[in-house]
Amino acid sequence: MNSLLSVSNIAKNYGDRVGCHATSFDLWPGEVMAIVGESGSGKTTLLKCISGQMEASSGTLGYTKRDGSIVVLQELSEAERRFLMRTDWGFVHQDARDGLRMGVSAGANLGERLMALGGRHYGRIRSSAEDWLQRVEISTDRIDDSPWSYSGGMRQRLQIARNLVTAPRIIFMDEPTGGLDVSVQARLLDLMRGLVRNLGLAAVIVTHDLAVARLLSTRMMVMQGGNVVETGLTDQILEDPQAPYTQLLVSSILLV
Protein backbone atom coordinates (compact mmCIF):
# COMPACT_ATOMS: atom_id res chain seq x y z
CA MET A 1 0.00 0.00 0.00
CA ASN A 2 1.18 3.50 -0.77
CA SER A 3 1.03 6.27 1.76
CA LEU A 4 -1.66 8.85 0.98
CA LEU A 5 0.59 11.84 1.43
CA SER A 6 4.34 11.65 1.31
CA VAL A 7 6.10 14.67 2.78
CA SER A 8 9.71 14.80 1.74
CA ASN A 9 12.14 17.37 3.14
CA ILE A 10 9.61 20.18 3.26
CA ALA A 11 11.23 23.34 4.63
CA LYS A 12 10.18 26.96 4.81
CA ASN A 13 12.24 30.10 5.33
CA TYR A 14 10.95 33.61 5.84
CA GLY A 15 13.91 35.62 4.59
CA ASP A 16 16.72 34.84 7.05
CA ARG A 17 14.39 33.31 9.59
CA VAL A 18 13.59 29.63 9.49
CA GLY A 19 9.91 28.74 9.67
CA CYS A 20 10.48 25.02 9.71
CA HIS A 21 13.48 22.85 8.92
CA ALA A 22 13.38 20.05 6.37
CA THR A 23 10.74 17.60 7.55
CA SER A 24 9.67 14.27 6.12
CA PHE A 25 6.87 11.89 7.00
CA ASP A 26 4.19 9.72 5.45
CA LEU A 27 0.50 9.95 6.15
CA TRP A 28 -1.46 6.73 5.64
CA PRO A 29 -5.09 6.42 4.61
CA GLY A 30 -7.38 6.81 7.60
CA GLU A 31 -4.56 7.92 9.84
CA VAL A 32 -4.87 10.93 12.13
CA MET A 33 -1.63 12.70 12.80
CA ALA A 34 -1.24 15.49 15.34
CA ILE A 35 1.50 18.12 15.12
CA VAL A 36 2.09 19.48 18.58
CA GLY A 37 4.18 22.36 19.82
CA GLU A 38 4.06 25.79 21.34
CA SER A 39 3.42 28.88 19.24
CA GLY A 40 6.41 29.72 17.07
CA SER A 41 7.45 26.07 16.89
CA GLY A 42 6.78 25.95 13.15
CA LYS A 43 3.76 23.64 13.34
CA THR A 44 1.35 25.92 11.49
CA THR A 45 3.99 26.75 8.88
CA LEU A 46 4.49 23.04 8.27
CA LEU A 47 0.75 22.46 8.04
CA LYS A 48 0.30 25.25 5.53
CA CYS A 49 3.19 23.97 3.40
CA ILE A 50 1.91 20.40 3.26
CA SER A 51 -1.67 21.44 2.56
CA GLY A 52 -0.95 23.75 -0.35
CA GLN A 53 -1.94 26.90 1.53
CA MET A 54 1.64 28.17 1.34
CA GLU A 55 4.54 27.48 -0.97
CA ALA A 56 7.42 25.63 0.70
CA SER A 57 10.98 26.88 0.18
CA SER A 58 12.15 23.35 -0.65
CA GLY A 59 11.05 19.75 -0.58
CA THR A 60 8.29 17.84 -2.33
CA LEU A 61 4.83 16.48 -1.62
CA GLY A 62 3.72 13.21 -3.15
CA TYR A 63 0.04 12.37 -3.23
CA THR A 64 -1.63 9.09 -4.17
CA LYS A 65 -4.77 9.83 -6.15
CA ARG A 66 -7.99 7.82 -5.97
CA ASP A 67 -6.93 5.84 -9.02
CA GLY A 68 -3.70 4.81 -7.29
CA SER A 69 -1.38 6.96 -9.38
CA ILE A 70 1.12 9.13 -7.55
CA VAL A 71 1.56 12.81 -8.33
CA VAL A 72 4.06 15.35 -7.07
CA LEU A 73 2.11 18.43 -6.02
CA GLN A 74 4.82 20.85 -7.06
CA GLU A 75 4.74 19.47 -10.59
CA LEU A 76 1.01 19.90 -11.10
CA SER A 77 -0.42 22.91 -12.89
CA GLU A 78 -2.28 25.37 -10.74
CA ALA A 79 -5.57 24.19 -12.22
CA GLU A 80 -4.86 20.56 -11.30
CA ARG A 81 -3.67 21.53 -7.85
CA ARG A 82 -6.73 23.65 -7.15
CA PHE A 83 -8.95 20.86 -8.42
CA LEU A 84 -7.36 18.38 -6.03
CA MET A 85 -7.77 20.83 -3.19
CA ARG A 86 -11.47 21.13 -3.96
CA THR A 87 -12.14 17.43 -4.36
CA ASP A 88 -9.70 15.50 -2.20
CA TRP A 89 -8.55 17.92 0.47
CA GLY A 90 -10.13 20.04 3.12
CA PHE A 91 -8.69 22.75 5.32
CA VAL A 92 -10.18 23.87 8.60
CA HIS A 93 -8.93 27.24 9.79
CA GLN A 94 -8.60 28.19 13.42
CA ASP A 95 -10.87 31.16 12.77
CA ALA A 96 -13.97 29.88 11.02
CA ARG A 97 -14.41 33.25 9.32
CA ASP A 98 -11.30 32.50 7.23
CA GLY A 99 -12.81 29.28 5.98
CA LEU A 100 -16.40 30.31 5.45
CA ARG A 101 -17.98 32.64 2.93
CA MET A 102 -19.47 34.94 5.52
CA GLY A 103 -21.58 36.90 3.06
CA VAL A 104 -23.86 33.99 2.12
CA SER A 105 -26.12 31.62 4.03
CA ALA A 106 -25.01 28.45 5.78
CA GLY A 107 -26.71 26.39 3.08
CA ALA A 108 -24.79 28.17 0.34
CA ASN A 109 -21.57 27.59 2.26
CA LEU A 110 -22.27 23.88 2.29
CA GLY A 111 -23.40 23.82 -1.33
CA GLU A 112 -20.52 25.79 -2.78
CA ARG A 113 -18.07 22.92 -3.16
CA LEU A 114 -20.78 20.75 -4.71
CA MET A 115 -21.61 23.49 -7.21
CA ALA A 116 -17.92 24.06 -7.91
CA LEU A 117 -17.73 20.40 -8.88
CA GLY A 118 -20.65 20.76 -11.27
CA GLY A 119 -23.65 20.16 -8.98
CA ARG A 120 -26.59 21.77 -10.82
CA HIS A 121 -29.61 20.34 -9.05
CA TYR A 122 -30.87 22.75 -6.42
CA GLY A 123 -32.96 20.17 -4.59
CA ARG A 124 -30.13 17.69 -4.25
CA ILE A 125 -27.64 20.38 -3.20
CA ARG A 126 -30.07 21.56 -0.59
CA SER A 127 -30.80 18.14 0.85
CA SER A 128 -27.11 17.40 1.00
CA ALA A 129 -26.64 20.67 2.89
CA GLU A 130 -29.42 19.71 5.31
CA ASP A 131 -27.91 16.30 5.79
CA TRP A 132 -24.55 17.83 6.68
CA LEU A 133 -26.07 20.32 9.06
CA GLN A 134 -27.60 17.40 10.94
CA ARG A 135 -24.36 15.51 10.98
CA VAL A 136 -22.62 18.43 12.64
CA GLU A 137 -25.54 18.84 15.00
CA ILE A 138 -26.92 22.11 13.65
CA SER A 139 -30.69 22.39 13.36
CA THR A 140 -31.77 22.37 9.71
CA ASP A 141 -34.03 25.37 10.23
CA ARG A 142 -30.84 27.43 10.47
CA ILE A 143 -29.95 26.55 6.86
CA ASP A 144 -30.81 29.95 5.39
CA ASP A 145 -29.22 31.95 8.18
CA SER A 146 -26.00 33.84 7.80
CA PRO A 147 -22.93 32.39 9.56
CA TRP A 148 -22.72 35.75 11.31
CA SER A 149 -25.74 34.71 13.35
CA TYR A 150 -24.01 31.47 14.44
CA SER A 151 -22.08 31.03 17.67
CA GLY A 152 -18.32 30.32 17.53
CA GLY A 153 -18.82 26.58 18.03
CA MET A 154 -21.54 26.38 15.37
CA ARG A 155 -19.39 28.28 12.89
CA GLN A 156 -16.55 25.86 13.45
CA ARG A 157 -18.87 22.90 12.90
CA LEU A 158 -20.22 24.56 9.78
CA GLN A 159 -16.70 25.05 8.50
CA ILE A 160 -15.90 21.40 9.09
CA ALA A 161 -19.07 20.33 7.30
CA ARG A 162 -18.31 22.67 4.38
CA ASN A 163 -15.04 20.80 3.95
CA LEU A 164 -16.51 17.34 4.25
CA VAL A 165 -19.46 17.76 1.92
CA THR A 166 -17.51 16.58 -1.12
CA ALA A 167 -16.08 13.56 0.75
CA PRO A 168 -12.41 14.54 0.73
CA ARG A 169 -9.69 12.04 1.63
CA ILE A 170 -7.52 14.28 3.81
CA ILE A 171 -8.48 17.08 6.09
CA PHE A 172 -6.00 19.56 7.52
CA MET A 173 -6.94 21.40 10.68
CA ASP A 174 -5.20 24.33 12.28
CA GLU A 175 -6.07 24.57 16.00
CA PRO A 176 -9.70 23.70 15.26
CA THR A 177 -10.76 24.08 18.88
CA GLY A 178 -8.72 27.21 19.58
CA GLY A 179 -10.67 30.20 20.78
CA LEU A 180 -13.68 28.13 21.87
CA ASP A 181 -15.07 27.65 25.38
CA VAL A 182 -13.98 24.45 27.13
CA SER A 183 -17.45 22.91 27.06
CA VAL A 184 -17.85 23.76 23.39
CA GLN A 185 -14.40 22.30 22.71
CA ALA A 186 -15.35 18.97 24.24
CA ARG A 187 -18.47 18.67 22.12
CA LEU A 188 -16.57 19.60 18.96
CA LEU A 189 -13.79 17.11 19.70
CA ASP A 190 -16.33 14.38 20.21
CA LEU A 191 -17.99 15.22 16.94
CA MET A 192 -14.71 15.37 15.06
CA ARG A 193 -13.59 12.01 16.42
CA GLY A 194 -16.82 10.44 15.24
CA LEU A 195 -16.67 12.01 11.79
CA VAL A 196 -13.05 11.13 11.16
CA ARG A 197 -13.63 7.50 12.18
CA ASN A 198 -16.88 7.01 10.31
CA LEU A 199 -15.63 8.59 7.10
CA GLY A 200 -12.24 6.87 7.19
CA LEU A 201 -10.60 10.24 6.74
CA ALA A 202 -6.93 10.92 7.05
CA ALA A 203 -6.25 14.06 9.01
CA VAL A 204 -3.41 16.29 10.08
CA ILE A 205 -4.25 18.37 13.12
CA VAL A 206 -2.11 21.16 14.45
CA THR A 207 -2.62 21.88 18.11
CA HIS A 208 -0.82 23.20 21.15
CA ASP A 209 -3.13 21.15 23.32
CA LEU A 210 -1.95 17.62 24.14
CA ALA A 211 -5.46 16.68 25.21
CA VAL A 212 -6.70 17.32 21.68
CA ALA A 213 -3.88 15.23 20.27
CA ARG A 214 -4.61 12.41 22.70
CA LEU A 215 -8.29 12.34 21.87
CA LEU A 216 -8.04 12.50 18.08
CA SER A 217 -4.69 11.26 16.86
CA THR A 218 -3.04 7.92 16.44
CA ARG A 219 0.36 9.35 15.68
CA MET A 220 2.06 12.46 16.92
CA MET A 221 4.87 14.76 15.92
CA VAL A 222 6.36 17.17 18.46
CA MET A 223 7.95 20.37 17.13
CA GLN A 224 10.20 22.94 18.72
CA GLY A 225 11.99 25.86 17.07
CA GLY A 226 11.17 24.67 13.56
CA ASN A 227 12.44 21.12 14.20
CA VAL A 228 10.65 17.85 14.80
CA VAL A 229 11.99 16.70 18.16
CA GLU A 230 10.00 13.52 18.54
CA THR A 231 7.60 11.43 16.54
CA GLY A 232 5.72 8.21 17.24
CA LEU A 233 2.42 6.68 18.32
CA THR A 234 0.43 9.12 20.39
CA ASP A 235 -0.14 6.79 23.34
CA GLN A 236 3.49 5.81 23.42
CA ILE A 237 4.75 9.38 23.41
CA LEU A 238 2.36 10.48 26.08
CA GLU A 239 3.27 7.54 28.29
CA ASP A 240 6.97 7.52 27.67
CA PRO A 241 8.24 10.76 26.16
CA GLN A 242 11.88 10.57 25.05
CA ALA A 243 12.91 14.09 24.07
CA PRO A 244 13.46 16.48 26.99
CA TYR A 245 11.09 19.02 25.43
CA THR A 246 8.34 16.42 25.09
CA GLN A 247 8.90 15.34 28.67
CA LEU A 248 8.42 18.94 29.71
CA LEU A 249 5.22 19.24 27.68
CA VAL A 250 3.78 16.00 28.99
CA SER A 251 4.65 16.74 32.60
CA SER A 252 3.14 20.18 32.33
CA ILE A 253 -0.25 18.82 31.38
CA LEU A 254 -0.10 16.06 33.95
CA LEU A 255 0.44 18.70 36.59
CA VAL A 256 -2.79 20.44 35.64
Binding site: E78, A79, R82, R101, V104, S105, G107, A108, G111, E112, R113, M115, A116, L117, G119, R120, H121, Y122, G123, I125, R126, I143, D144
Partner: protein
Protein backbone atom coordinates in the same frame (compact mmCIF):
# COMPACT_ATOMS: atom_id res chain seq x y z
CA UNK B 1 -7.23 78.40 -32.40
CA UNK B 2 -8.52 75.63 -34.61
CA UNK B 3 -9.63 72.26 -33.35
CA UNK B 4 -7.99 69.00 -34.44
CA UNK B 5 -8.94 67.41 -37.76
CA UNK B 6 -10.68 64.08 -37.26
CA UNK B 7 -10.04 60.83 -39.06
CA UNK B 8 -12.90 58.68 -40.51
CA UNK B 9 -14.98 57.60 -37.51
CA UNK B 10 -12.95 59.81 -35.15
CA UNK B 11 -10.25 57.32 -34.12
CA UNK B 12 -6.87 57.40 -35.80
CA UNK B 13 -5.88 54.32 -37.81
CA UNK B 14 -3.30 53.24 -35.24
CA UNK B 15 -6.02 53.00 -32.62
CA UNK B 16 -8.45 51.21 -34.92
CA UNK B 17 -5.82 48.62 -35.73
CA UNK B 18 -5.29 48.02 -32.02
CA UNK B 19 -9.03 47.62 -31.46
CA UNK B 20 -9.43 45.30 -34.46
CA UNK B 21 -6.68 43.08 -33.08
CA UNK B 22 -8.55 42.87 -29.80
CA UNK B 23 -11.78 42.05 -31.65
CA UNK B 24 -10.10 39.26 -33.62
CA UNK B 25 -8.74 37.78 -30.44
CA UNK B 26 -12.17 38.06 -28.82
CA UNK B 27 -13.79 36.23 -31.74
CA UNK B 28 -11.16 33.51 -31.53
CA UNK B 29 -11.89 32.91 -27.83
CA UNK B 30 -15.67 33.32 -27.47
CA UNK B 31 -16.67 34.91 -24.17
CA UNK B 32 -13.13 35.73 -23.08
CA UNK B 33 -12.56 39.33 -22.03
CA UNK B 34 -9.72 40.78 -24.06
CA UNK B 35 -8.02 43.80 -22.48
CA UNK B 36 -7.61 46.74 -24.85
CA UNK B 37 -6.21 50.22 -24.44
CA UNK B 38 -9.51 52.07 -24.60
CA UNK B 39 -9.22 55.74 -25.49
CA UNK B 40 -11.16 58.63 -24.13
CA UNK B 41 -13.94 59.41 -26.53
CA UNK B 42 -15.83 62.68 -26.78
CA UNK B 43 -18.71 61.20 -24.81
CA UNK B 44 -18.51 60.26 -21.14
CA UNK B 45 -17.03 56.94 -20.07
CA UNK B 46 -19.92 54.76 -19.00
CA UNK B 47 -22.11 56.20 -21.75
CA UNK B 48 -21.20 53.74 -24.45
CA UNK B 49 -17.59 54.59 -25.27
CA UNK B 50 -16.67 50.90 -25.48
CA UNK B 51 -19.43 50.25 -28.00
CA UNK B 52 -18.52 53.43 -29.87
CA UNK B 53 -14.88 52.37 -30.18
CA UNK B 54 -15.84 48.90 -31.39
CA UNK B 55 -18.28 50.40 -33.90
CA UNK B 56 -15.68 52.93 -35.05
CA UNK B 57 -13.16 50.12 -35.61
CA UNK B 58 -15.69 48.07 -37.61
CA UNK B 59 -17.27 50.83 -39.71
CA UNK B 60 -16.57 51.10 -43.42
CA UNK B 61 -17.87 53.77 -45.79
CA UNK B 62 -20.62 51.43 -47.04
CA UNK B 63 -22.01 50.49 -43.68
CA UNK B 64 -25.53 51.39 -42.62
CA UNK B 65 -25.68 52.09 -38.92
CA UNK B 66 -28.55 51.70 -36.49
CA UNK B 67 -28.21 52.86 -32.89
CA UNK B 68 -30.69 51.94 -30.17
CA UNK B 69 -30.94 52.53 -26.46
CA UNK B 70 -33.63 50.68 -24.47
CA UNK B 71 -34.74 49.24 -27.80
CA UNK B 72 -35.58 52.63 -29.30
CA UNK B 73 -33.80 54.69 -31.95
CA UNK B 74 -35.03 57.96 -30.56
CA UNK B 75 -33.74 57.83 -26.99
CA UNK B 76 -31.37 60.72 -26.34
CA UNK B 77 -28.16 58.73 -25.99
CA UNK B 78 -28.89 56.73 -29.15
CA UNK B 79 -29.50 59.99 -31.01
CA UNK B 80 -26.27 61.42 -29.68
CA UNK B 81 -24.18 58.42 -30.71
CA UNK B 82 -25.80 58.21 -34.15
CA UNK B 83 -25.11 61.92 -34.69
CA UNK B 84 -21.52 61.40 -33.69
CA UNK B 85 -20.99 58.83 -36.43
CA UNK B 86 -22.85 60.83 -39.03
CA UNK B 87 -20.58 63.75 -38.22
CA UNK B 88 -17.28 61.89 -38.01
CA UNK B 89 -17.82 59.16 -40.61
CA UNK B 90 -20.56 60.49 -42.85
CA UNK B 91 -22.15 57.05 -43.07
CA UNK B 92 -25.80 56.25 -43.73
CA UNK B 93 -28.07 55.43 -40.81
CA UNK B 94 -31.38 53.64 -40.46
CA UNK B 95 -34.05 52.80 -37.92
CA UNK B 96 -34.91 49.57 -39.73
CA UNK B 97 -33.24 46.55 -38.18
CA UNK B 98 -33.28 44.59 -41.44
CA UNK B 99 -31.48 47.35 -43.33
CA UNK B 100 -28.66 47.89 -40.87
CA UNK B 101 -25.22 46.33 -41.23
CA UNK B 102 -24.01 47.44 -37.83
CA UNK B 103 -26.34 47.91 -34.87
CA UNK B 104 -25.04 49.50 -31.71
CA UNK B 105 -27.23 48.82 -28.71
CA UNK B 106 -27.61 49.56 -25.07
CA UNK B 107 -29.72 47.22 -22.91
CA UNK B 108 -31.67 45.39 -25.66
CA UNK B 109 -31.37 42.92 -28.51
CA UNK B 110 -33.70 43.75 -31.44
CA UNK B 111 -36.78 41.53 -31.68
CA UNK B 112 -36.17 41.00 -35.41
CA UNK B 113 -33.83 38.02 -35.88
CA UNK B 114 -30.43 39.16 -37.13
CA UNK B 115 -28.63 37.78 -40.16
CA UNK B 116 -25.06 36.81 -41.01
CA UNK B 117 -24.33 40.18 -42.65
CA UNK B 118 -24.93 42.08 -39.44
CA UNK B 119 -22.81 42.98 -36.45
CA UNK B 120 -24.47 43.73 -33.13
CA UNK B 121 -22.33 45.94 -30.88
CA UNK B 122 -23.21 46.09 -27.19
CA UNK B 123 -22.30 48.87 -24.77
CA UNK B 124 -21.06 47.25 -21.59
CA UNK B 125 -20.73 48.96 -18.20
CA UNK B 126 -19.21 46.10 -16.16
CA UNK B 127 -17.84 43.25 -18.28
CA UNK B 128 -16.90 40.99 -15.38
CA UNK B 129 -19.73 38.63 -14.35
CA UNK B 130 -17.83 37.74 -11.18
CA UNK B 131 -17.22 41.36 -10.16
CA UNK B 132 -19.85 41.60 -7.46
CA UNK B 133 -18.86 38.26 -6.00
CA UNK B 134 -15.14 38.96 -6.16
CA UNK B 135 -14.07 42.59 -6.65
CA UNK B 136 -10.45 41.83 -7.48
CA UNK B 137 -9.34 41.64 -11.09
CA UNK B 138 -6.30 39.53 -10.19
CA UNK B 139 -8.58 36.94 -8.60
CA UNK B 140 -11.37 36.94 -11.20
CA UNK B 141 -8.85 36.43 -14.00
CA UNK B 142 -7.62 33.34 -12.20
CA UNK B 143 -11.17 32.10 -11.66
CA UNK B 144 -11.89 32.36 -15.38
CA UNK B 145 -8.61 30.70 -16.29
CA UNK B 146 -9.34 27.76 -14.01
CA UNK B 147 -13.08 27.67 -14.73
CA UNK B 148 -13.82 28.15 -11.04
CA UNK B 149 -17.41 29.21 -11.45
CA UNK B 150 -18.97 27.58 -8.39
CA UNK B 151 -19.51 30.96 -6.82
CA UNK B 152 -21.81 32.04 -9.68
CA UNK B 153 -24.18 29.28 -8.72
CA UNK B 154 -23.85 30.21 -5.07
CA UNK B 155 -25.55 33.46 -5.97
CA UNK B 156 -28.33 31.67 -7.85
CA UNK B 157 -28.68 29.24 -4.94
CA UNK B 158 -29.13 32.13 -2.54
CA UNK B 159 -31.82 33.61 -4.78
CA UNK B 160 -33.83 30.41 -4.75
CA UNK B 161 -33.34 29.86 -1.03
CA UNK B 162 -34.63 33.35 -0.33
CA UNK B 163 -37.18 34.03 -3.07
CA UNK B 164 -38.10 30.63 -4.39
CA UNK B 165 -36.76 31.50 -7.82
CA UNK B 166 -33.71 32.99 -9.50
CA UNK B 167 -34.23 36.68 -8.84
CA UNK B 168 -31.97 38.08 -11.51
CA UNK B 169 -34.01 40.01 -14.02
CA UNK B 170 -31.34 41.55 -16.22
CA UNK B 171 -27.59 41.27 -16.69
CA UNK B 172 -28.18 37.54 -16.45
CA UNK B 173 -24.92 35.57 -16.71
CA UNK B 174 -24.48 32.84 -19.30
CA UNK B 175 -21.92 30.28 -20.36
CA UNK B 176 -20.42 30.83 -23.80
CA UNK B 177 -19.32 27.90 -25.93
CA UNK B 178 -19.23 25.66 -22.82
CA UNK B 179 -16.22 27.54 -21.51
CA UNK B 180 -16.44 31.15 -20.30
CA UNK B 181 -19.08 32.58 -18.02
CA UNK B 182 -19.85 36.00 -19.45
CA UNK B 183 -21.85 39.11 -18.74
CA UNK B 184 -24.32 39.89 -21.54
CA UNK B 185 -24.45 43.58 -20.47
CA UNK B 186 -27.64 44.77 -18.76
CA UNK B 187 -30.07 43.38 -21.31
CA UNK B 188 -33.21 41.94 -19.73
CA UNK B 189 -33.04 38.19 -19.30
CA UNK B 190 -35.92 38.15 -21.77
CA UNK B 191 -33.25 38.75 -24.43
CA UNK B 192 -30.84 36.03 -23.31
CA UNK B 193 -32.24 33.34 -25.64
CA UNK B 194 -31.44 35.64 -28.60
CA UNK B 195 -27.74 35.45 -27.69
CA UNK B 196 -27.70 31.75 -28.45
CA UNK B 197 -26.83 30.58 -31.93
CA UNK B 198 -27.32 34.04 -33.42
CA UNK B 199 -26.46 34.39 -37.11
CA UNK B 200 -24.91 37.80 -36.50
CA UNK B 201 -21.53 38.54 -34.98
CA UNK B 202 -22.00 39.93 -31.47
CA UNK B 203 -19.32 42.26 -30.11
CA UNK B 204 -19.17 43.71 -26.61
CA UNK B 205 -17.22 46.85 -25.78
CA UNK B 206 -16.49 48.15 -22.27
CA UNK B 207 -14.59 51.42 -22.59
CA UNK B 208 -14.13 52.43 -18.99
CA UNK B 209 -13.15 48.91 -17.99
CA UNK B 210 -11.04 48.49 -21.16
CA UNK B 211 -12.37 45.11 -22.26
CA UNK B 212 -13.72 43.66 -25.51
CA UNK B 213 -15.40 40.28 -25.87
CA UNK B 214 -17.35 38.52 -28.57
CA UNK B 215 -19.80 35.83 -29.47
CA UNK B 216 -19.09 34.61 -33.00
CA UNK B 217 -22.06 33.66 -35.19
CA UNK B 218 -23.81 30.40 -34.32
CA UNK B 219 -22.19 30.00 -30.93
CA UNK B 220 -23.85 28.22 -28.03
CA UNK B 221 -24.80 30.55 -25.19
CA UNK B 222 -26.47 28.98 -22.19
CA UNK B 223 -27.97 31.02 -19.38
CA UNK B 224 -26.90 29.71 -15.98
CA UNK B 225 -29.55 27.82 -14.03
CA UNK B 226 -30.31 24.68 -12.04
CA UNK B 227 -31.78 21.50 -13.50
CA UNK B 228 -34.78 21.79 -11.20
CA UNK B 229 -35.00 25.59 -11.53
CA UNK B 230 -34.48 26.11 -15.25
CA UNK B 231 -33.98 29.52 -16.83
CA UNK B 232 -37.38 31.07 -17.45
CA UNK B 233 -38.73 34.14 -19.21
CA UNK B 234 -40.90 36.90 -17.81
CA UNK B 235 -44.46 37.11 -19.16
CA UNK B 236 -46.88 39.96 -19.66
CA UNK B 237 -50.63 39.60 -19.19
CA UNK B 238 -51.39 41.74 -22.23
CA UNK B 239 -50.02 42.22 -25.74
CA UNK B 240 -48.47 45.49 -26.93
CA UNK B 241 -51.18 48.16 -26.81
CA UNK B 242 -50.02 49.62 -30.12
CA UNK B 243 -49.15 46.72 -32.42
CA UNK B 244 -50.64 43.79 -30.53
CA UNK B 245 -47.39 41.83 -30.48
CA UNK B 246 -47.43 39.01 -27.93
CA UNK B 247 -43.81 38.07 -28.30
CA UNK B 248 -41.93 41.29 -27.68
CA UNK B 249 -40.51 42.94 -24.60
CA UNK B 250 -42.92 45.57 -23.29
CA UNK B 251 -42.24 48.90 -21.61
CA UNK B 252 -44.68 50.03 -18.98
CA UNK B 253 -46.04 53.52 -19.61
CA UNK B 254 -47.57 55.41 -16.74
CA UNK B 255 -50.63 57.16 -18.21
CA UNK B 256 -51.92 59.18 -15.29
CA UNK B 257 -51.61 59.45 -11.55
CA UNK B 258 -54.60 57.17 -11.00
CA UNK B 259 -52.58 53.99 -11.59
CA UNK B 260 -53.36 53.92 -15.31
CA UNK B 261 -50.75 51.84 -17.12
CA UNK B 262 -50.23 50.67 -20.64
CA UNK B 263 -47.72 48.29 -22.12
CA UNK B 264 -45.99 48.92 -25.45
CA UNK B 265 -43.07 47.41 -27.37
CA UNK B 266 -39.66 48.58 -26.22
CA UNK B 267 -38.32 47.84 -29.72
CA UNK B 268 -39.83 50.72 -31.70
CA UNK B 269 -38.80 49.35 -35.10
CA UNK B 270 -40.44 46.01 -34.35
CA UNK B 271 -43.60 47.77 -33.22
CA UNK B 272 -43.79 49.79 -36.46
CA UNK B 273 -43.20 46.67 -38.53
CA UNK B 274 -45.89 44.67 -36.75
CA UNK B 275 -48.36 47.55 -37.14
CA UNK B 276 -47.62 47.74 -40.87
CA UNK B 277 -48.31 44.02 -41.25
CA UNK B 278 -51.76 44.39 -39.71
Amino acid sequence: MSGPVYNFAYLNEQTKRMIRRAILKAVAIPGYQVPFAAREMPMPLGWGTGGVQVTAACLTQDDILKVIDQGADDTTNAVSIRKFFVKTAGIATTDVTDDATIIQTRHRIPETPLNENQILVYQVPIPEPLRFLEPRETETRKMHALEEYGVMHVKLYEDIARFGEIATAYDYPALVNDRYVFDPSPIPKFDNPKLNNSAALQLFGAGREKRIYAIPPHTKVKSLDFEDFPFSLPKWDKPCAICGSQTSYLDEIVMDDQGGRMFVCSDTDHCRKTQALK
